[in-house]
Structure formats: C-alpha cells, structure tokens
C-alpha cells in the first residue's frame, strides 16, 4: 500500500469510528406536552391530553350543567382502569378537574384530602396549640350534588402467527365519563372518547 493510500484508509477508519461513537452518544431534547408523540401503540401522555380535551369541552358546552348559574359542587370518584395495562388513571381525573376548575363554572370537593382535613380540624380543636379565634368553623363543608366517574377500557389484538419480519398489533382505548345526580341517582350526562392505534414491531434484531 502506498503512503497516501495508507493515510486515506486511516482517515476513513477514524471518520467511521467518530460516526459510530456519535451514533452511540446519549441525547436528550425537550418535548412540548402539546406535541403528539407515540413510540408504540400503548397509552401515553399524548393520549391523556386528547382524552381530557375531548371530554371537558362537551361537559362545559352540552351537559345539563353547561348553563348552571350556581356553580354546582362535584365530587370525582376516580376513573376505573379496566385495561390490561397498569395505567395511572388519577392523572386523567386530575386533569379533567383542573380544566373544569379553570373554566370557573364548577366547584369540587377535595375527596383525597378528607382524612387530612379531619386531622387538621381535630388538631385545631384538640391540641390546645391553636388560638381559638383562628380555628375553622366545623360542619361548614359543602355536600356534593354530582358525582363524576368514569371507566377506561382497552381491547388489544395481535396479528396471528405467520412467517414475517414484523408483528402488527392494534390497540383500542375508550374512556367513558358520566355525571350522576346524587339526589336522584340519575345519570345526567355521559360521553366517551375513543383512540385506536396500530403499531408494527420488528421480530428480529441484533
């Protein structure tokens, strides 16, 4: 091999090594929460946003409460996870509540803080450490008029066994939300949102 040939080979080898190393470097980038992004067919944060947006709008516009003038009091009893995945559905109910609070037309009972409220009230009255004039007045909590509850369901299908290099799978999610009048037990409003997604995964890798 000539001297220039050797130099070219060496240069190419170093270039390839740099390219390979750069390819292996860990990278990060900030993603906008509003950007729709899916790595696979499974439920992710983009779905949560879509679900919340799709259900809050009709609740604000078409539900019997849309024109209520007295800011009705609602309690959220959570969203039951009936899927085959460990999905934290409290994130969905928290976001729905937040959007409705921001709309300024409803009030919400803080059900998750009930024990803490009771403990704090008990402390104010029984510890002897709280000035009497600053104690909160008891028996002034508001009763809820409506229950907001829901169910997240999923159906999953995989391609049947056959000779292939990729495997397709289909996932369908539906979130059903309903508003129950506590006084009459009637469901006053219900709506649902659906998401269906197909993904393809390689069967063979290195």
């Amino acid at each position: 091999m000539t001297n220039s040939g050797l130099k070219s080979t060496l240069f190419l080898a170093i270039l390839s090594a740099i390219a390979l190393t750069a390819g292996c470097t860990a990278t990060t980038r900030t993603v906008s929460p509003t950007e729709e992004l899916h790595y696979d067919e499974a439920y992710d944060f983009s779905d949560k946003k879509k679900i919340v947006d799709s259900l809050v709008q009709p609740l604000l516009e078409t539900s019997p409460l849309a024109n209520a003038a007295d800011r009705p009091v609602i309690i959220i009893y959570g969203i039951a996870n009936q899927t085959a995945e460990h999905i934290n559905t409290s994130g969905i109910s928290d976001d729905i509540r937040e959007s409705l609070i921001k709309a300024g037309r409803f009030r919400f009972i803080n059900e998750t803080q009930r024990d803490n409220i009771a403990n704090e009230t008990d402390y104010q009255y029984n510890s002897g450490a709280v000035a009497p004039e600053t104690r909160i007045e008891r028996a002034r909590q508001l009763g809820a008029r409506y229950i907001l509850s829901g169910t997240l369901r999923s159906i999953e299908k995989e391609e049947p066994k056959q000779v292939r290099l990729t495997k397709k799978s289909l996932k369908y999610y539906s979130l059903h939300l309903e508003l129950t009048d506590l006084r009459t037990s009637l469901i006053e409003w219900a709506d649902s949102v659906e998401i269906a997604r197909e993904a393809s995964k390689p069967i063979i890798g290195w």
């Binding site: 039951a80 996870n81 009936q82 899927t83 085959a84 460990h86 390689p202 069967i203 890798g205 290195w206």
Partner: protein
C-alpha cells in the same frame, strides 16, 4: 473458548439465593440477589423471577410486585429475536442466549403479580395482571390448560369487580380441564343461576359435593365474606440434561424436567364448618407440558446445530488436520450442553382455598397436615365487613410452614 464453557453455568448469586431460600434463609437469599454485581444479562429474567418469588414469601409484596413487573417488562422486550445470540448459539449452545422462560414461567410471573396485588388490596392492578395472564393463556392454551390455580385467581379478580360473566367463563374453562368438575361446580351453578344461564347451570348441579348443600338454597353466596388462602407446597422439579450420542462424536442434548414426586399437604381451617372452594395446580405437570410444546423447535435447532458442527469437523478433517479435527470434535461434544435454566424456587403445588366466613373480627388458625405431621399457623387478627375478603399466603417446605 473458556467463555463459551463458562456460559453453561447458572450465575453464582442465583445458586446462592436458591440454596439460602430452601434452607429457610429467605432474607439472605434476597440479599444475595440484591447485592449481585455484574450479573449476566442473559439470566436477568431468572434474577427477577427468583427475587420476586422470595420477596413474596417474605411478605414484602410491594417489592415483590415491583421486581416481577420488571420481569414482565423484560419478557415483552425479549419478544425480539436476537440474530447475534442465535448465530452464536448455533456454534455453541443455548446458554449463550437470554433466558426467556417457559410459557408456564411467563404465565406465573403474572400469577404471582396477581397474588401480590390482592394481598396489597390493589384490586384494580390485580385485574390488570389477570388480563395479562389471559393473554398468555390464549396464546398457549394446550400446555397451560392444567393451570387451574391461575384460572381460579383470574376468576377471583373478575368477581372482585362483580364482572361475574367473565368469572363464569373462567370457572367453566377450569371445569372443562378437570377430570371431575366438582371443585368448581358450586361456583358455576351459583353464578350461572344468577346470570340467568339456568339450563347450563343445572348441568353442574349434580357435581356439587353433598357436603355443601347450602349453596342450593342460600342467597348469592359469592357476595359473602371470605378468607382467601394461597398455599405453596414443596419445590418444583428442576430441568436436567438429556443426551443422545451418535458415534463417533455427535451429541444431541435437550433439557427435560426431572421426575419428582413432591409431598402434598392438606390444609383446613380450625373450626370451619363449610368446606372451602379449592383448586390445585401441579406446577411440574404444567412446566413439563410447556417444555413439551417447544420440543419440535428445540429438536429442529439441535439438529441444525449438530449438522453445522459435523460439517465444520469434516471440513477440517478433509484438510488432513488430524489432531485439530479431533480437538474440534471434542470441543463441540463438550459444548453441547442443554439449557437447563429454570425458575427453581417455584413450589410443587399452588393451591387456592376460599373459606366463607362471617363478617366481624377473626383470629383464625390454619391446620396443615403433611406426611402425618400437623403444623398450625395462627393468622393475624383481621376484621371483615359483609362481602369483604381477607388474603393470606402460606409456603410449606419440608418441615416448615410460614405464613404472611
């Protein structure tokens, strides 16, 4: 070459942990696995399986669930076939590849997760695992058909959410795979009648054991309070090496489960009047059926490997490399080790008992008979309101019974 030979060994922390677990030193077993450094990636699934199960029997259900969820996640990733590992295994043996678990072991990851979540009273998460279990049962219906314990556990998870039609389907599947449907007949009859499937339910009426006639005239008893016991007995059979040698130097090796008869045990509740609902899974039988279901694949790969090794040895022989060819044949012969990795802390039997009990405060005693020896386990005091369930698990190894 040394690496290839060493590949045919189970990771040392796994051996230590299994030994400690069966010597009654479960905490030491967990430590051996937690402190393992440079643990081989190929055995990582076994690490999660063994650690998850030991933590379960220590009553550390949250940690056990987290560990087994890692196993579940890994199983999903392992669905991609690695070309590099498969190519290397053609020249050496299966020990060089990632251990993916038998179908039965993959199912039992979800079974133990279900138990953990029920013991933690996380019923929604238990239902998620029930659905994951169903996916595996649907994929491999034949080899897993005798896992009555997992099916009954799935039915229980559905019952917890009053999804009785789903529970009914599972009980019927158990009945179809039992030689005598008596253990699940009361359940099928009861749920069937309440769902309005009278004609079908009536067919199971004749299988209801005579000592539980109360079901026939009582109210919907599945709404009653219950003590649910998960009982694990003995140790499951391990995989051993099987070989066929074709002279002069071709060796076909394959894994097989050892024939091991474990001592069963009778479990009852002191003072209980009503016989419990109970189903049993014989772990060894289901594991053997799962391995058998893969037999065709194992034989095909083994044949291809033997053919490849033989053609390489002949090519070397053809070049008159006498000593080299002999050494190569010897190396190939010794390398031909079957993959005998398996989940070794599994019990020989998994039993599910459901004792109907009255609502209120209870301090109960489980009575265990094994080989004529009685062992009593005092359960912690608990209170139940109408329709509630209390979950408890017991592991019976030779000479000891521990509950949590």
């Amino acid at each position: 070459m040394l690496c290839i030979f060493f590949a045919g060994c189970t990771a040392a922390p796994l051996r230590q942990a299994r030994k400690a677990f069966y010597s009654g030193q479960s905490a030491e077993a967990v430590n051996a696995l937690s402190e393992a450094k440079n643990f081989p990636n190929r055995d990582r699934l076994l690490l999660f399986m063994e650690k998850g199960l030991i933590l379960h029997h220590l009553g550390r259900y949250e940690e056990s669930a987290n560990t087994l969820l890692k196993a579940s996640e890994l199983m999903e990733k392992q669905e991609i076939i690695s070309i590099s590992q498969q190519a290397a295994s053609f020249m050496t043996n299966e020990w060089i590849t990632d251990y993916k678990g038998e179908y039965s072991e993959r199912l039992w990851v979800h079974t133990y997760l279900m138990m953990n979540f029920l013991l933690l009273r996380k019923y929604e998460s238990a239902l998620v695992e029930a659905k994951q279990s169903l996916k595996i049962l649907e994929k491999h219906p034949e080899p897993l058909s005798k896992d009555h314990f997992t099916r009954a556990l799935i039915a229980l998870c559905f019952e917890n959410f009053r999804q009785y039609s789903d529970a009914y389907i599972e009980y019927k599947k158990i009945a179809e795979n039992l030689p005598d449907p008596s253990p699940v007949a009361p359940r099928i009859y009861e749920i069937g009648m309440n769902l309005g499937f009278r004609e079908e339910a009536e067919k199971y009426k004749k299988f209801i054991p005579p000592d539980i006639p109360s079901i026939l005239n009582s109210q919907f008893s599945i709404l009653n309070s219950e003590l649910v016991l998960f009982v694990s007995i003995g140790s499951a059979p391990e995989k051993i090496s099987g070989s066929i040698i074709i002279p002069p130097s071709i060796r076909f090796s394959f894994p097989q489960y050892e024939d091991k008869i474990a001592d069963d045990a009778q479990v009852s509740l002191a003072g209980a009047e009503t016989p419990p609902f109970s189903v049993t899974t014989h772990i060894g039988n289901v594991a053997k059926a799962s391995l058998q279901d893969r037999a065709a694949k194992i034989i095909a790969k083994e044949t291809a490997r033997a053919a490849m090794k033989e053609s390489i040895a002949r090519a070397v022989e053809h070049k008159n490399e006498g000593i080299l060819s002999v050494l190569l044949r010897m190396a190939f012969f010794l390398m031909e080790e079957p993959d005998t990795r398996c989940w070794e802390t599994l019990p020989a039997y998994l039993k599910l008992f459901r004792f109907p009990i009255q609502p209120g405060k209870h301090r109960l005693k489980a009575v265990i008979y094994q080989n004529g020896i009685r062992k009593d386990i005092i359960l912690p005091q608990f209170s139940l309101s109408a329709g509630q369930k209390y979950y408890y698990q017991i592991r019976i190894n030779s000479g000891s019974a521990i509950g949590n």
